[in-house]
């Protein structure tokens, strides 16, 4: 497990402590580590549900990408928004969701975030600003721009982070959205999680440019590529972009180079990549690395990390218990929520 390795690892010089850590603060860093563990354990548990035939549909795991989700959301508050993707568990937890309601959604229960109607691919948490995972590659990008338009028009001061994959950057929706956001100087962080593949197609076979961030110039917006497995690098880029957005400086494209160590979805046979490649990336695990760093910096000792992991285990276990004890939706309510009841209407 991560703990053992963290102690073997070479200590990180305090002099190298990234400036962004001061901004996040010790508590924030420990919380970030906790969320990364929570994401990892949520997904491992979800995977286990599958293996044991306990869940339905498909699922997309972000194991190996946790630093990106948590690093970006470190720069956001509850009134800021995110739009997410089919690979959205990490974004959801990073934005503050409860794993119990997520498990419940995963299992299609009435207590889930979508009352069992959405499943893994649509988990959302609007109360925390998560406008939802999305089954359509690129589908969330223009929605994020719209949320940013609301923020600007209603002067809420909110920013919006739109997560999407390297594959999504070839969708027309990407192009149209970045152009509009830049034109209207909207507070958006376009966060590309470049995990090297869009299902099975390697980045270089899908994208006619070396880095997604290079496309930012086509929209006159800053573009930056960071190591997506390095919490500090991601958080630094996210804070900078969020600061710019809040100042009225418009959107930024942040590309996080990372890797999903699991298959694309349940049905993936990994025919498009090598075991060596996967192992090499596993060796760059973002959680181990972050934990090692926090330990070297004295922000979270090995003991802190261990108790944090224990707490995560309990949270996961409680979440699973909550979800499994929750009822499935009643078919009598099949038609509920197709439309908003007149009484609930905003007007």
């Amino acid at each position: 497990m991560t703990a053992a390795r963290a102690e073997d690892a070479p200590p990180v010089a305090v002099a190298n402590r990234p400036a962004i850590y001061d901004r996040v603060g010790a508590g924030g860093l420990r919380e970030a580590l906790r969320r990364m563990h929570l994401i990892r354990r949520f997904e491992e548990t979800a995977e286990d549900f599958y293996v044991r035939g306990k869940s339905y549909g498909t699922m997309h795991l972000s194991i190996g990408q946790e630093a990106t989700a948590v690093g970006v959301c470190a720069a956001l508050g509850d009134s800021d928004y995110v739009t997410s993707t089919h690979r959205g568990h990490g974004h959801c937890i990073a934005k503050g969701a409860e794993v119990g309601r997520m498990f419940a959604e995963f299992l299609g229960r009435e207590t889930g975030y979508c009352r069992g109607r959405g499943g893994s691919m649509h988990i959302a948490d609007p109360a925390k600003g998560n406008l939802g995972a999305n089954g359509i590659v690129g589908g969330g990008i223009p929605i994020a721009v719209g949320a940013a338009l609301s923020a600007k028009r209603l002067r809420t001061g909110a920013v919006v982070a739109s997560f999407f994959g390297d594959g999504a950057n070839n969708e027309g929706a990407f192009h149209e959205s970045l152009n509009i956001a830049s034109l209207w100087k909207l507070p958006v962080l376009f966060v590309c999680e470049n995990n090297q593949y869009g299902m099975s197609v390697a980045f270089a076979r899908s994208t006619a440019v070396a880095s997604v961030a290079d496309r930012a110039a086509a929209y006159s917006m800053p573009g930056v590529t960071v190591d997506g497995n390095d919490f500090a690098a991601v958080a630094a880029a996210a804070f900078e972009a969020a600061d710019r957005a809040r100042r009225g400086g418009g959107p930024t494209l942040v590309e996080c180079k990372t890797y999903r160590t699991r298959g694309h979805s349940r049905s993936d046979r990994n025919r498009y990549r090598t075991k060596d490649e996967i192992e090499a990336w596993k060796a760059r695990d973002p959680i181990e690395r972050f934990e090692r760093e926090l330990s070297a910096l004295g922000v979270a000792t090995a003991a802190d990390a261990a108790s944090l992991r224990e707490a995560v285990e309990r949270e996961i276990a409680d979440g699973v218990a909550f979800a499994e004890a929750s009822p499935a939706p009643s078919t009598a309510e099949l038609m509920r929520d197709v439309h908003t009841p007149a009484a609930a209407a905003p007007r």
Binding site: Y81, T83, G112, Y113, C114, R115, G116, R117, G118, H122, A124, P126, A127, L131, G132, N134, G135, I136, G139, I141, P142, I143, A144, V145, G146, A147, A148, L149, S150, A151, R153, L154, G172, A173, H175, E176, S177, N179, I180, L183, R336, D337, V338, H339, T340, A344, A345, P346, R347
Partner: protein
């Protein structure tokens, strides 16, 4: 005290609805291609940008998918966008956001959000726009759970239905037939709404029921006048809203007239008339039918440019008269 009533054009009635909604509610705004200083491809938004400013009447780039998605996102987070597509044909570029996102988000998210979005789009042929600027795609949207679909016929309804659509907490697709823009009719000043679930009987009659929406309702009324001179009294029902369809009004009429003719401009097969016919054929009214249900729909062809062909491709008054005559005289 009732509001003064003026004669107003269909396009002006829509603009008036927009202006009322925008004046009442800061959250309402208009977005689309060339809706600002140009005043809209069909001059519907007109001078709204002068009255409400560029922040409330927003010219978008030519980006239908992005524009629709921005509207969805804005609607999700506190604004009430009215998004204009210049021609309904261009909805083909925005279907993803309209159908996969706007229509489904509330349900998919378990009722935790609403998407109060109106999408306005001109529909239909008659101006020589040819195959990519003349389609009638109402049936597509009417097939999508989560959407409401509106198509007004009169300036009065255009205004009242649009105000109802903007008030509605869920996405509403608002079709405007291009040939109606310059028609005129009485429109009260100020706010009123026409509910989004009720058909309107535009003419009473005992011999047959004609169901037709939008410009086809106008043509059906013209046909009914001619038919009346021949002693055939057609009842003309204008659904006004295609989803949800007020079939009760149609069924009541058919129960009395025993004959049903449905007129619509979109391709006949799998068009809006198919649903209306099927709903009658499976309900109580079926037993009252004295003749097969007749549908007069668009030809099974892209809309041609050349005027005579274009005319031949969609039902005209004389086609309605002929069909109604056959039906009423039992020749169908």
């Amino acid at each position: 005290m009732t509001a003064p009533i003026r004669e107003l054009g269909f396009a002006e009635a829509i603009r008036e609805a927009l202006a009322i909604a925008m004046a009442e509610d800061e959250r309402v705004f208009v977005m689309g291609e060339d809706v600002g200083v140009y005043g809209g491809a069909f001059q519907v938004t007109g001078d709204l940008v002068q009255r409400f400013g560029e922040d409330r009447v927003v010219d978008t780039p030519i980006s239908e998918l992005g524009g629709a998605g921005v509207a969805v996102g804005a609607a999700l987070t506190g604004l009430k966008p009215v998004f204009e597509l210049q021609f309904s044909d261009f909805s083909t570029l925005a279907m993803e956001q309209i159908v996969n996102q706007a229509a489904k988000l509330r349900y998919m998210l378990g009722g935790s959000v609403s998407v109060p979005l109106v999408v306005r789009m001109p529909t239909g042929s008659g101006l020589g726009g040819a195959a990519q600027h003349s389609q009638s795609l109402e049936a597509w949207f009417a097939h999508v759970p989560g959407l409401k679909v509106v198509e007004p016929t009169t300036p009065y309804d255009a205004k009242g239905l649009l105000l109802a659509a903007i008030d509605d907490p869920d996405p509403v697709i608002f079709f405007e037939h291009k040939l109606l823009y310059k028609t005129k009719g009485p429109v009260p000043e100020g706010r009123y709404v026409v509910p989004l679930d009720r058909a309107e009987t535009r003419r009473a009659g005992r011999d047959l029921t004609i169901v037709a929406a939008g410009v086809m309702a106008q043509k059906a009324l013209d046909a009914a006048t001619i038919l009346a001179s021949e002693g055939i009294e057609a009842e003309v029902i204008d659904p006004r809203v295609l989803r949800p369809l007020d079939m009760a009004t149609v069924a009541r009429s058919v129960t009395r007239t025993s004959r049903l003719l449905i007129v619509y401009e979109g391709a006949k097969s799998f068009g809006i008339g198919a649903e209306i016919a099927a709903a009658i054929a499976e309900g109580e009214a079926f037993g009252h039918l004295d003749a097969p249900i007749l549908r007069l729909g668009g030809a099974e062809t892209p809309i041609p440019y050349s005027p005579a062909l274009e005319r031949a491709a969609v039902p005209q008054v004389e086609d309605i008269v002929a069909a109604a005559r056959r039906l009423a005289r039992g020749e169908a």
